[in-house]
């Protein structure tokens, strides 16, 4: 039973955090991008520390210079018979040209459908990022918050849902070439949850949560 609990916590983390922020900076109008995301919580594996390699794929299109729409497929969730997607937009709220920084938000909806019991759930997500261009605009650093919201007033067995927001901080960097973008992002997942004892040996901070490392490869066209 201990094992079961650990696995469910583990999967709970997967569902919410199998990808980095979709877009920190919007695409140009009519520009398209596809990306592959790889990464997850860090675990101790033998003497090494490695991220669990969860995967998802995303398509995005610039619908205005400050607005990019995106949709994704979570391939790891799919392995478990769950179809999961997140659909949303990246909207730039503020940009300071001379100081080379900006603020963007990614409102999105995460939807999961399980083919076994036909259960469907949807959760709004709002990522907020502040970025700063560096290396002559070839790269940018960003920090932000990944926020999931539970709108349901009830949870299992008709109990009252008390927590309606899950907040995970993250920091990352994107390096762009003419056609490609490479992102490395670090999240602090479930930062209020104790991570020991646990079958999965997470790398957390002060025995709480898990640190996640994510890679994103984006091809623009």
């Amino acid at each position: 039973m201990l094992r079961l609990f650990a696995i469910v916590v583990f999967i709970g983390i997967i569902f919410q955090n199998c990808a980095p922020t979709r877009f920190v900076k919007p695409l140009a109008k009519n520009q398209n991008a596809i990306s592959a995301n790889l990464g997850g919580p860090l675990i101790h594996f033998g003497n090494a520390v490695t991220p669990i390699p969860f995967t998802s794929f995303m398509y995005g299109r610039g619908i205005a210079n400050s607005t990019t729409a995106f949709a994704s497929i979570h391939t790891t969730a799919m392995l478990f018979g769950n179809f999961q997607t997140d659909i949303g937009v990246c909207q730039r709220l503020y940009k300071h040209d001379s100081l080379k920084f900006g603020i963007t938000v990614n409102p999105a909806v995460n939807m999961v459908y399980d083919k076994w019991n036909k259960n469907f759930r949807a959760w709004p997500q709002l990522d907020v990022n502040i970025y700063k261009d560096i290396l002559k605009d070839k790269a940018f650093l960003y920090i932000g918050l990944t926020n999931w919201f539970e709108l349901s007033a009830k949870k299992a067995h008709n109990e009252t849902q008390k927590n309606h927001a899950l907040i995970n901080p993250h920091i990352g960097m994107t390096y762009n070439t003419k056609k490609w973008g490479y992102t490395l992002e670090c999240k602090f997942l479930q930062m209020n949850k104790k991570n020991i004892p646990n079958v999965v040996d997470y790398v957390g901070i002060q025995q709480k949560g898990a640190v996640g490392i994510y890679l994103n490869f984006t091809r623009r066209f």
Binding site: L4, V8, E150
Partner: protein, 296 residues
């Protein structure tokens, strides 16, 4: 339209991995039961005052065949007490947790054999199919079938419903609840749950912080929180306040609150984590608690 076809196809053809098979913790393989000579990890080790003479330790096998089984499965059982006295003794059917095998739970069973005095009550423990030396693969229905096979054996030896107590620890609370709610061979007269599991939905909620259904991960139907609602037997609930695996508030309190039967009592144990209840309570207090409940 073509996008709809693609999405529907992805749903239909998405893979079939489930975590169910990973839930059963069979990691420690054994070739024989060592009981007191077992040196592997255990929650606690009793001192010599809890010694049980070999003449009162009976290791045997049972044939378990549930309603869904095509063939019978051989499972291993240990009875602590005098088999000839089952006709008159009170017996505790101990349904152990998810970890490993009866060697791991031997100290717990031995402790239970001291409820109300040394060997006052008989204690029966089994390894569910796939656990320890029991044959087969573990399944949810197999848990119920295997415990029922043990109850059939007790019935054959002369036990009556009024002298049968069923005790479930952790995962063992599932067969304890199931067979109290929907009795098969025997109807337990009292139910004791230590660190019960509420449901897969509660686990998924706890794990994710969201109203996430358990079906996203598992096909297990164990739902003690609902099953307890229709159990009428007197009920004793024990849970560690510091249980880091099955949270006392989301799992234990839920099961306790949902009980609507004739009598219930709760024991919330300060400082106790999942496997620590007997030790944190002190063995004497633990045994006195059980003894008082059983004698009520």
């Amino acid at each position: 339209m073509k996008y709809l076809v693609v999405i529907v196809s992805l749903v239909l053809f998405s893979s079939c991995l489930r975590l169910d098979d990973n839930f059963y913790n069979l990691e420690d393989k054994i070739t024989e039961y060592k009981l007191d000579n077992y040196t592997g990890e255990q929650d606690f080790i009793l001192d010599n005052s809890y010694y049980i003479p070999d003449s009162l330790i009976h290791h045997f096998t049972l044939s378990s065949k549930g309603p869904d089984d095509n063939n019978a499965t051989t499972i291993h059982a240990i009875y602590i007490g005098s088999i000839s006295k089952i006709q008159t003794d009170t017996v505790i059917m101990y349904c152990h947790g998810n970890k490993w095998h009866m060697d791991f739970y031997w100290q717990r069973a031995k402790l239970l054999a001291h409820t109300s005095g040394k060997n006052k009550y008989g204690v029966l423990m089994i390894d569910y199919r796939g656990y320890g030396l029991s044959e087969g693969e573990p399944t949810e229905n197999g848990l119920y079938a295997d415990v029922d096979a043990a109850l059939q054996w007790l019935k054959l030896k002369g036990l009556t419903n009024s002298r049968l107590m069923i005790y479930g620890f952790s995962m063992g609370t599932a067969p304890a609840c199931e067979l109290s709610n929907k009795p098969r061979s025997m109807t337990p007269s009292k139910l004791i749950l230590e660190a019960p599991f509420a449901s897969a939905d509660v686990m998924a909620n706890d794990g994710s912080g969201l109203n996430m259904p358990g079906s996203f991960f598992t096909n297990l139907k164990i739902d003690n929180a609902e099953e307890i609602k229709t159990i009428s037997q007197p009920f004793c609930w024990i849970h560690g306040i510091n249980d880091n695996f099955l949270n006392i508030n989301t799992h234990g309190e839920m099961v306790y609150k949902n009980y609507n039967g004739i009598y219930k009592e709760a024991h919330r144990i300060t400082g106790a984590d999942h496997g620590e209840i007997p030790a944190k309570m002190s063995f004497n207090d633990y045994l006195n608690t059980l003894s008082t409940f059983i004698k009520k």
